[in-house]
Structure formats: structure tokens, C-alpha cells
Symmetry: C2
Subunit: 370 residues, 2 copies
């Protein structure tokens, strides 16, 4: 197997675990957060900046790269790593989520999904086979099965039919996949129905993937419901394989995800809010454009070791945002990603010291005081 | 004198000269190009990137910083170097050019200029004393006298009256300036009239500035006329002082400026066109968004040693521009600035080898073949 998960330490009181993910582009500590580089670029960042903040594996997107610049070009360039000059790990999402998000612009059949490109309106088609072919051409270390992310809310019959189709599609992805140097992960669906989650997990596990994602969460449901689904689903996945919670990246959900035994996360949250001038600190979020920071010569976060906090003041970064200077959103992005990546490292350390529950209690005490 | 010019080598056939500019933030080789950081940021660049491409001194703007974030805040932060974390040289323009560009939004009297802010419409006032006070607060290594940039075309009487006022204002700037650790440069005006240029140069030189700028060129006049004015004006400036041609930054004008004995240049050109996807090469400009580069896996310029050319292909950079990814304009900006800064270094080397005229001939042969 090109990509394997190694369990290093289990929390004695919760499902949390510390591990290592071995890939063709390096071995990475888990739990891990993957910055999102949808279009073969983590927005506003250079590869060196990502490495400087401790990023190990980033996520890119099949739907976007299939439409532009096209997977053939990326393959010609030697694959995504070479195209974007990123030497560490890459995971590509299958495009399922994006295609289904197109709403009236797409049509689903058992064969696949016909849709109109958001770029030029052209008619396009993705299926389990095609999404796998595209991802083999892109050449990420980890690729994802082509699934339907069950929307929220969804009635039981819709969720059941969709989840069953996702399982059939997962089988077709496996059959289409033939690159030994990349791992194809299955995606557990099932909406907010525990029996469907169980069925999805069991069927995918029986297909034997090298890793499993939990999809269809963080799609608008209340957070306690998401946590309940996690608590129910994760234990049904094999201990020896990596578990990836898709689209999750706020500190509260990361803590709960880790507690329930998730190893991998991704989310546009830290980079997206950064570009709007919102930065994360241990004392809560801070809207850097606000007038209260106009003369504030302190760094965003005094405890932070990131490039932005080591070199620039809140007043300067606020000025850059007010003046619409690109360097402002670069600094905010660096800070937010560094903050989340450091947060993951702290959780891992707590697990290694078998201290995770105390870490979590302390986190929630601070989170709720805000 | 805090800032001094040291003549290192004179070209035996032209006015070109190689020198060194000594400032409180370092000694810099001339001729030199200064990247523009109007609002305390060279657009899209970090200080480390600027240093990596060989930038020694950058330009920032009094008008913009006076309005936002305000010179008092910058002074509180320890001055512009500290505020923007730039450890090498800074030159601030006086704001004269920007204020006069406001057209109907400004009113000129002998005392100064009343104008409306382009940001919030508020009524503002800049005078020789105020512009000098603001620049002392900003704390650049080199600051500029508050002048009127004579527009093109301008009739003789207007140009004469304006130039005489610029001289009176230059005297007031000198009287108001009292920071020993920064140099105040005078600005020669005179429009396109040689006798006015002579008069302006002589009067400013008699006031005894530590350096002289040539203003009011590259304002829409035909290039041969600009070169004629340079040929006429530069020889009237003292050999022992730095000469700065304001707002000039295309390769052809840089070559001619250097030939006529100019030491310093600035222009938004390389950074502005970069953000629109135009990159400079020895073989001419290249619009990276064009379809012809879609599958071009070569760097922007094979001879170039910049970060963009060492690490990324035309196809990738084109993709970033098409996908509106910020990293694309970062790469184009890095390339263009590196290109121009390297171009200056080559000219200096040619002067040191007393080979400048051959360098210029070769440059023009290539330029005209395009």
C-alpha cells in the first residue's frame, strides 16, 4: 500500500489517537489539518510559506482542476506536485461535493453526473470512473471516491438511495483505480441516520479501502448532531486505517473530531476568513479591520510564533486591509493557518502525554468564556 | 550629511556613472531602481521577497500615508521602517504629484494646496512645511521637497510661474527640515522649456540640497523630448550629488536616463503590469494569460534567476491568472521587479567595465527588433 496509517498512541479516556500517515511524499503526524488549495494554489500562499507554517499535506480539487486547467495538462507537467511545485503530500477531493452543489445545473443518473461548468457553461460529465481517471492523472498521494454528499436536511428515503449509490460508485472507483503510488479513500455517507451510517461504513469497509472519510457532515446540521454522528460512525471504521472528516476546520469541531478518533481534516475556513480580515487567537476571533486596532502596535497574538506575529503589528495589518493591500491578506492567511496547524500539534502532544481530556476541558472553558 | 553620493566610475563616452548611495539604512549601488510601495507596501510583496530579488531602497508616498493611516501613527510605530518592517532604504515622495493630480478637487495658493481626500472626501491641506513635517514623522532616509509637477502640455507662462513657486517652496521645505538622519532632495521642474529647466536647476543648486530629482518628465510627452530635457538638465546638477529621475521605469527610458547621468529611478510600471499578467523578458513583454502559454511548461524567461522562473512554468502561472489566484500576481510581480533590478545591475557592470555605450547599442538593437 502506497499510503499507510500507523497508530502511535491511543488516549486512555476518549477515542483520540496520535499516529503517522506514510505517503510517497513524506510521513506526516496525525491528527493533521490540511490547508485547502482548490485550484492548485492555497490561496495567496507560496509553497515555502506553507512549509514555514508547518503544513505537510494540502488538499486540491478534482472538479476545479478537471475544468481548468484540465488534468491532461497537469499530467503533462508531471502531475500536481510538479505543476504547483509542492513537494509534500496532496489529497484530491473527488469533485462529488462540488458537482452536487451545482443544484439545477446538474443531472444525476446511476452512470454519473452531467453538469454545466461554472466557468463557461459547457456541458461536462463526471462518473466514478472519470473522477478516478482524473485523479490518477493529477497524481495526488491520496484520492477520494466519487460520492454524493447527502444534503441536510434529507428525508430517510433520499438519504438511503443516495448512500447506496455512493457505495456502488465506491466499488466502481476501486475497480477503475490502478495507481500503486496513491491511495483511494472511501467516503462514508448516510446523512443524519445512524442505521444508514452503519450500513455505509460496513459496506465500504468490506470493500477494503486504505483509508476512510466521513462525508456529509458540517453541511448545515447543528453541531451536537454532527458530534453524535461522529461518535456513532468512527468506531465502525478499522483502527489500522486513517480516518478523515471532510470540510471541518473550526477549533471546536477539530477538538471534537479528534476526541472521536478522527485523524485528518480540511476546511477553507481559516484561509477564507483571513481574506476577509478575521484572524484566530486563543482568546477568540478578531476582526482586524475594526477601529479598535487602528493604533494597536501589538502583534495579532502575542503567544503566536507565525511570520505575521513575529514581524508586524495589528495596526500595520489593519492599515493593509483598509488600503486593500494584498500583503494584508497574505499575513492574515499565514497567521490563521499557522494557528490551526499549531492547534493540531498541541492536540497531538496532549494525546502523546495521555492528557487529551484535560486539553479538551481547558479548550471548552476558554471557548465558552468568549 | 546623513545621505551622501559617492562617484565610483564615470563612463568615458556618455554621462553614465556608477556610484554608491550611503544612507542610514545601508549603502546601495547606483544606478538603482526603487520599487514603489505607495501605501507602505510594495503591492503583493513581503520584505523578504524584496530582499531576495535584490531591492535596496523602496519608495513610499506622503500623500497616501498622510491620509491613511496617518503619519502620527507611523511615528508612534517607530517610523516607516519599523511600521512596515523594512530594514533597508526608503525614499518618500512629497505628495506634490498626487495632490496636483486631483484636478478639480484641489486649490493651489502660495501657502499650499487645499484638497479633498480621495478616500473620504474630507478637506485636507498640504504645504511645504506640512509635507516636510509629515515626511520627518515617516522617517524615510530620503525625503522630497513639496513641488508642483508641471503638467504636459503647459504654456510657457504657466510653466514659469509654477517652476518659480516650486523653487520658493523648496526653500521653505529646507527651512522646515531638521532631521539630521534623513536627506531632503530638491526637485528640478521647468516643463519642456530649457531655459526654465536651467533656471530651476541653478536656483535649487544654489540652495544646496544633498541630492536632486528631475521632476515633470514621463508625464505624457514624447520620449525623444524627455531625453532632450534630460540631456539638457542633468549636466547642470553637481557631480557629487545623487540625481533621481522620478516616475521612470521602462527599460528604454532607464537606459537613456542612465546614459544621461541619472542615478536613481522609480516607477509603478513593473508591479502594475505584473498584476495584469504582463511580464518582462529580454525578448520583450509577454502577456501570460494568452492562450499560447496554456501548455507552455517553460519558465517565463529561461535566462532569469528569479523565484518565479526557478520554480514555476508559464502554464502554471497562466492557470493562476485565469483562476484569479493571488499567487499568480505575486509570481509576476517578483519576476518583473527582479528583471528590472537585474537590468540595473547589468548597466552598472557595463559602466564599471567602461562598456556602457556597447551595452546601450545592443539593448536598442534588441528593443527595436521586437
Amino acid at each position: 500500500m502506497a499510503v499507510t496509517y500507523e497508530l502511535v498512541k491511543r488516549c486512555s479516556k476518549t477515542g483520540a489517537r496520535a499516529g503517522r500517515l506514510h505517503t510517497p511524499h513524506g510521513t506526516f503526524d496525525t491528527p493533521i489539518f490540511m490547508p485547502v488549495g482548490t485550484q492548485a494554489s492555497v490561496k495567496a500562499m507560496s509553497p515555502e510559506e506553507l512549509i514555514g507554517m508547518g503544513a505537510d499535506i494540502i488538499l486540491s480539487n478534482t472538479y476545479h482542476l478537471f475544468l481548468r486547467p484540465g488534468h491532461e495538462l497537469v499530467a503533462e507537467a508531471g502531475g500536481l506536485h510538479s505543476f504547483m511545485n509542492w513537494k509534500r503530500g496532496i489529497l484530491t477531493d473527488s469533485g462529488g461535493f462540488q458537482v452536487f452543489s451545482l443544484g439545477p445545473l446538474r443531472k444525476i443518473t446511476e452512470e454519473g453526473v452531467t453538469f454545466r461548468s461554472h466557468i463557461d457553461g459547457s456541458k461536462q460529465f463526471l462518473s466514478p470512473e472519470k473522477a478516478t481517471e482524473v485523479q490518477m492523472a493529477l497524481g495526488a498521494d491520496i484520492i477520494m471516491a466519487f460520492d454524493e454528499c447527502v444534503p441536510y436536511p434529507a428525508d430517510y428515503d433520499y438519504a438511503k438511495a443516495s448512500t447506496d449509490r455512493t457505495t456502488r460508485w465506491a466499488e466502481r472507483c476501486l475497480a477503475a483505480h490502478n495507481r500503486k503510488d496513491q491511495a483511494l479513500f472511501g467516503i462514508v455517507q448516510g446523512g443524519m441516520y445512524k442505521d444508514l451510517r452503519t450500513r455505509s461504513a460496513q459496506e465500504l469497509v468490506s470493500l477494503g479501502f486504505p483509508g476512510y472519510a466521513i462525508g456529509g457532515l458540517s453541511v448545515g446540521e447543528p453541531k451536537p448532531l454532527m458530534y453524535e454522528m461522529l461518535e456513532h460512525t468512527v468506531p465502525q471504521l478499522p483502527e489500522g486505517k486513517a480516518r478523515y472528516l471532510m470540510g471541518v476546520g473550526t477549533p471546536d469541531c477539530l477538538v471534537e473530531g479528534v476526541m472521536h478518533g478522527v485523524d485528518m481534516f480540511d476546511c477553507v475556513f481559516p484561509t477564507r476568513v483571513a481574506r476577509n480580515g478575521t484572524v484566530m487567537t486563543n482568546k477568540g476571533r478578531l476582526v482586524i479591520k475594526n477601529a479598535e486596532y487602528a493604533r494597536d502596535l501589538n502583534p495579532i497574538d502575542e503567544e503566536c510564533g507565525c511570520y505575521a506575529c513575529q514581524n508586524f503589528s495589528r495596526a500595520y495589518i489593519r492599515h493593509l486591509f483598509k488600503a486593500e493591500e494584498i500583503f494584508g491578506l497574505r499575513l492574515a492567511t499565514i497567521h490563521n493557518l499557522y494557528f490551526l496547524l499549531s492547534f493540531m500539534k498541541k492536540m497531538r502532544q496532549a494525546i502523546l502525554e495521555d492528557n487529551f481530556l484535560a486539553f479538551r476541558d481547558e479548550f471548552w472553558a476558554g471557548w465558552e468564556r468568549r
